[in-house]
């Protein structure tokens, strides 16, 4: 399987919201490629929208990256939410129970409204 290595694109949106769009597979190889970027964002930002629509696979190390980032943002009083996971990624998130702790949105407008409140 040849697929582009996971990477992230970061955009600063209105209202102090930072969008992190993730591309590719959040597997062991992919996580190594993006974890430093996630750690920096979690350290610096307070309102983080993680756009998962271009993530094609999520393994437990990927979940760990999301959880650790969320914990770091929450520890500063901020918020991190997830947007638009594909069906297989959504199943892994819900099987882990992560949706009980991190909000998952399917509407970008609703996600932005939640972070902007």
């Amino acid at each position: 399987m040849t697929e582009e290595l996971a990477h992230i694109e970061v955009s600063d949106l209105a209202g102090g919201i930072t969008e992190v769009k993730v591309f590719g597979r959040m597997d062991i190889k992919g996580v190594f490629a993006i974890e430093d970027g996630f750690a920096k964002i979690a350290d610096e930002k307070h309102k983080v929208l993680v756009n998962l629509e271009a993530v094609t696979f999520l393994a437990s190390l990927g979940i760990r990256t999301l959880v650790m980032s969320c914990k770091a943002v929450a520890a500063k009083g901020g918020d991190l939410v997830l947007l638009n996971p594909q069906a297989n990624v959504d199943k892994v998130l819900k099987s882990s129970g992560i949706d009980q702790a991190i909000k998952i949105f399917t509407s970008r407008d609703e996600a932005l409204a939640y972070l902007g409140k």
Binding site: I63, R64, K71, G97, Q100, A101
Partner: protein, 158 residues
């Protein structure tokens, strides 16, 4: 009944071998008529189990004190097998690392607010949730874990 398919291969128990093994499992599980759901479950479970072995068994391989076979236990090795038939896919992972009973190990989903959330045990919870059966046994070689993914229980047309 369609012919059963099976593959097996060995990998070094390091990060290079792990990445290679994950790629091999991805290719096999995606290319032989399994549903996306089962293919995804196999890949998620394999990566969790194999990465646990590589990350936690690398320092000092388990040696049975009653067996004088130190020469044969000098490097961590992952033995991986996948078989697919009409009813199920079965993933088997053997390693010569220290004993670790995956089936009996504590696991948990997320049941706390994010600030209190513990990450450890989450991966094993996923393995137990996404597979239809988990079987562990300690063999003369080391650990053997078998995961079953029922094509019937997971409602896959075939």
């Amino acid at each position: 009944m369609a012919e059963a398919l099976s593959w097996h291969r060995e990998f070094t128990g390091d990060m290079t071998g792990l990445v290679e093994a994950c790629g091999w499992i991805e290719e096999l599980s995606s290319g032989h008529g399994l549903s996306d759901d089962i293919s995804n479950a196999i890949q998620v479970c394999f990566e969790e189990l194999a990465s646990n072995v590589v990350r936690h068994s690398g320092d000092g391989l388990w040696k049975d004190p009653t067996v004088d076979d130190a020469e044969s236990k000098t490097a961590l090795v992952l033995k991986v097998a996948l078989s697919i038939d009409d009813r199920k896919a079965e993933l088997r992972l053997e390693d010569n690392g220290k004993p670790f009973d995956v089936a009996a190990a504590p696991s948990h989903g997320v049941d706390q607010p994010v600030a209190d959330m513990a990450v450890g045990g989450l991966g094993l919870h996923l393995v137990k949730t996404l597979s239809t059966a988990v079987d562990y046994r300690r063999t003369a070689y080391g650990n053997e874990v078998k995961l079953e993914f029922s094509r019937v229980a997971m409602q896959e047309p075939h």
